[in-house]
């Protein structure tokens, strides 16, 4: 297969182009996604190509966006709706929790095939309202598939699957990943939802990491290799439903686990993954599962303070070393 190098941003853009080309029922809307092509330029060129009926800018109205995407999905479209920053997902949350997710369960025969695209994550000096990772809120609600790709390859293939899937899918990007590069095939491919991906093989410790924390974990693993520690990095890619088999297989081999999630610590997805792993793998574990998360503190603006908030390579290394001692 011929491969090419693209950014995470381009990969998502390509997936949108290809799926809109393939299926006229796919529509895309949100704030600033049309003429300008998105504040992160992820939807660049789509309005020009597919026209204002299928790709359009909306008023600032997150609740209405989420509700309208839901209605449109019920009535036969396959909407891709963007909530620009995850920090204000709260405004859309009622629609998502009390309409989108509920309808397919109680209204037999009705499906809600939509994709909610949003992005979270810190590192941009965005202060408290442009930095949060609130995937746990969505993850908590039954009936919504939640995906958090970490590479251009996964992002493109997974978004194509998400658009084709008949369930509501929350597709959560990370703002600091947009410029990162990776290889993808020249031609058509998809990545299945609900399948984890081993990003690096190792035998001493399993690091289960989400989104940008996969990149940080790989950096940590590389440095730890020099210290003689072999780290396996598992990226769930889709966090719900979770591919527990792949994680359990890794744990069987390493007997030690660190879970890494850039989010407030209490009630983070990491907490739940930890619970799921110990339930399934208790007999394979040589010690407690450790978590690397952000603290239960708002994300401050100052570059000097933001660093205390951010989880990353060094904190992951520390946790792996700690884990090896237990």
């Amino acid at each position: 297969m011929t491969m090419k190098k693209v950014t995470y941003r381009q990969a998502i853009n390509e997936a949108l182009f290809e799926e809109m080309e393939r299926d006229p029922k796919v529509v895309l809307f949100g704030e600033d996604v049309g003429t300008y092509g998105g504040v992160f330029k992820v939807t660049d060129g789509l309005k020009k190509k597919f026209g204002n009926e299928r790709v359009f800018d909306t008023p600032i109205a997150e609740a209405a966006l989420m509700g309208a995407a839901t209605g449109a999905a019920v009535a036969g479209l396959r909407p891709v709706v963007e909530i620009m920053f995850m920090d204000w997902i709260g405004i859309a949350m009622d629609q998502l929790v009390n309409q989108t997710s509920m309808i397919p369960y109680i209204w037999e025969g009705i499906k809600v095939p939509l994709v909610l695209r949003t992005q979270g994550g810190s590192g941009s000096k965005g202060s408290c309202q442009h930095t949060k990772s609130l995937e746990a809120w969505i993850y908590h609600v039954p009936g919504i598939v939640v995906a958090m790709p970490s590479t251009p390859y996964d992002a493109k293939g997974l978004l194509k699957s998400a658009i084709r899937n008949d369930n509501p899918v929350a597709f959560i990007e990370h703002k600091m990943l947009y410029p990162t590069e990776g290889e993808i095939p020249e031609g058509e491919y998809t990545v299945p939802l609900g399948r984890a991906s081993v990003k690096r093989e190792g035998k001493d410790v399993t690091v289960v990491a989400l989104s940008k924390m996969v990149v940080e974990s790989l950096k940590a693993a590389k440095e730890l290799e020099d210290e003689g520690i072999s780290v396996e990095v598992v990226d769930p890619v889709t966090i719900k439903p979770l591919d527990m088999d792949t994680i359990a297989e890794s744990v069987k081999k390493t007997n030690r686990v660190v879970v890494v999630n850039e989010a407030f610590r209490t009630g983070a997805v990491a907490s739940d993954l930890t619970a799921q792993i110990q339930e399934r793998c208790f007999d394979d574990l040589d010690g407690p599962i450790l978590r690397v998360t952000a603290p239960d503190v708002q994300v401050p603006y100052s570059p000097a303070l933001e660093q205390f908030w951010l989880p990353g390579k060094d904190k992951i290394k520390q946790a792996v070393l700690e884990c090896m001692k237990r």
Partner: protein
């Protein structure tokens, strides 16, 4: 026009504040572009008369709630420019110790409370300020700034209706620069004069030229007097001009040139200057002096701030819970 009969010192003070805000924005833009300020900096260049006109009609005791484009609003309310500059740089000497940054800072000493990066998110908070004033019988008022884009959010409409039914002393000031981030007003609403919406809530609504600082002052003063007398809230729309892109450094080449041609004819500082000179309140020499003096004040504030220390880790852990528990 009763505003024209304001004391000369007050008029000169308003003129000076326009320059202080303008020079702040020009310098902040420069510092952002050369990397000395981090994060997205939303400039109010060209919109200064809305902020200065409005805050000149308030007392120090009155509260304001600003937007993500808050610098001019906060300067107009009288925040300390040195502490503001330090906050913009994330320094320990900043008004919020570097925790808030350029979208969210606040200064309790002048009741500038505060910036808000969630579009429309400040309106209900300002209603709450006004609720407290009414219940406590203090005769204070609150004023919330929000954009034309924000005026399409449910949160703003809920807040206005709530305040009108409870007759709370709050002024809803829509700073209409005819842009969301990249989407113009007519693509977000079919309503031309946004103050028309006040009628739906049974309260006064007026549209003024937001580049005319005295017109803004008059409209706000009438609304403030009404609110203080217990007659409830008002809506004011001030139409203005966003001289720069959506934030510092964003491309403007794609923006409609008529928008800027029209805007340039309406520079709020020039408009006011011409009036003051015609009435012999200001000479060209004084005008030049004020322009230069305010530029120096801003430059000195930033130079001083750049020398100030960053906050340390202790600051990071402070106020996670700001009050004792148990």
């Amino acid at each position: 026009m009763f505003a024209t009969s304001l004391p000369e010192e007050k008029l000169i003070e308003m003129y000076r504040k326009l320059w202080l805000a303008r020079n702040h924005e020009l310098l902040a833009e420069e510092w952002k572009l050369n990397g000395r300020i981090q994060g997205s900096v939303h400039l109010a260049t060209g919109q200064e008369a809305v902020a200065v006109g409005a805050c000149s009609a308030l007392e120090v005791d009155d509260y304001i709630m600003g937007t993500h484009r808050e610098h001019a609003q906060m300067i107009a309310k009288g925040v300390n420019i040195r502490r503001m500059a330090a906050e913009m740089l994330g320094k320990a000497t900043g008004m919020n110790q570097g925790k808030a940054g350029h979208m969210l800072f606040s200064d309790k000493s002048v009741n500038a409370l505060g910036g808000c990066g969630i579009v429309g998110g400040g309106a209900a908070v300002a209603v709450g300020y006004a609720m407290a004033f009414k219940v406590l019988g203090t005769r204070q008022v609150s004023l919330v700034f929000f954009g034309d884009g924000a005026f399409n959010t449910g949160a703003v409409h809920e807040a206005i209706n709530f305040a009108s039914v409870r007759k709370y002393p709050v002024i809803f000031l829509c700073e209409n620069n005819r842009w969301g981030l990249t989407v113009m007003q007519h693509e977000q609403t079919v309503v031309e004069d946004l103050s028309d919406r006040a009628r739906c809530y049974g309260i006064p609504g007026v549209t003024v030229n937001g580049n005319d600082v005295l017109a803004v002052y008059e409209a706000v003063k009438l609304a403030v007097d009404r609110a203080r007398e217990g007659d409830g809230p008002s809506v004011i729309e001030a139409k203005t001009w966003r001289m720069r892109g959506l934030a510092a450094g964003y491309p403007m080449d794609w923006e409609p040139s008529e928008y800027h041609e029209e805007g340039r004819k309406q520079d709020p500082i020039r408009l006011f200057e011409e009036k003051l000179i015609a009435r012999n309140i200001l000479s060209e020499e004084m005008a030049k002096g004020i322009e230069e003096e305010t530029r120096r004040v801003v430059e000195e504030a930033y130079e001083e701030a750049s020398q100030a220390p960053y906050p340390d880790e202790a600051v990071f852990w402070e106020n996670v819970f700001a009050a004792p528990i148990g």
